[in-house]
Symmetry: C2
Subunit: 116 residues, 2 copies
């Protein structure tokens, strides 16, 4: 079975939105509900290809969302519910965040099928 | 004081190497020593701009390393000690990994100075 942590992506080129953030440690319940809702919503967006996300015990996280082109990234950015969530993120949930939008040009990887 | 989890980067354009991986849960000590050595080494590479890295309790991690151009990414890829570490990674430490090389075109962020 494929590892669900990894996005299943087409061949490049495509676009990556790299979102790095530090949680402030407050309102874990509200934050978790928003994160789940945004993941549900982004999967319905035109051009969304997949996402990978992880956060360590110190509250530092990286989420990378992949889209087919920049227009669809902008459309997701303008989505009303997403804009509201970002405003809540800035005011209530994140101590610091950085966003980098990048064009993926090459990709490769490997998965082990053995479990030795 | 700046949050040490975040890379301090120049204005785009620059390049990102997005490395997603699932640890196999084995040899935490050997893996940790390699990861520390690679972080020390990459900081000495020409064109290295910064890196961000995080891994969750399930062993899924994302590291993004930033470089000024693709030639310097290839030079780092060819670095002997790094190539050895990658081979060990494939054989001993990772269940699955994916690498995407991308050109960062836009970047923005925000940090809170208050601690209310």
């Amino acid at each position: 079975m494929a590892d669900q942590g990894f996005a299943q992506l087409p061949d490049p080129p495509y676009y990556a939105v790299i979102f790095s953030s530090r949680r402030n440690g407050r309102d874990e319940q509200g934050y978790g509900a928003m994160a789940m809702r945004m993941f549900e919503l982004v999967q319905q967006q035109p051009g969304f290809l997949g996402a990978e996300s992880t956060r360590d015990a110190d509250g530092f996280g990286i989420t990378v969302a992949y889209f087919d082109n920049e227009d669809n990234i902008l459309a997701w950015r303008r989505h009303g519910e997403h804009a509201q969530a970002r405003a809540r993120g800035r005011s209530d949930w994140y101590q610091h965040f950085e966003i980098r939008v990048a064009r993926v040009e090459r990709a490769y990887g490997a998965a082990r099928s053995d479990h030795a």
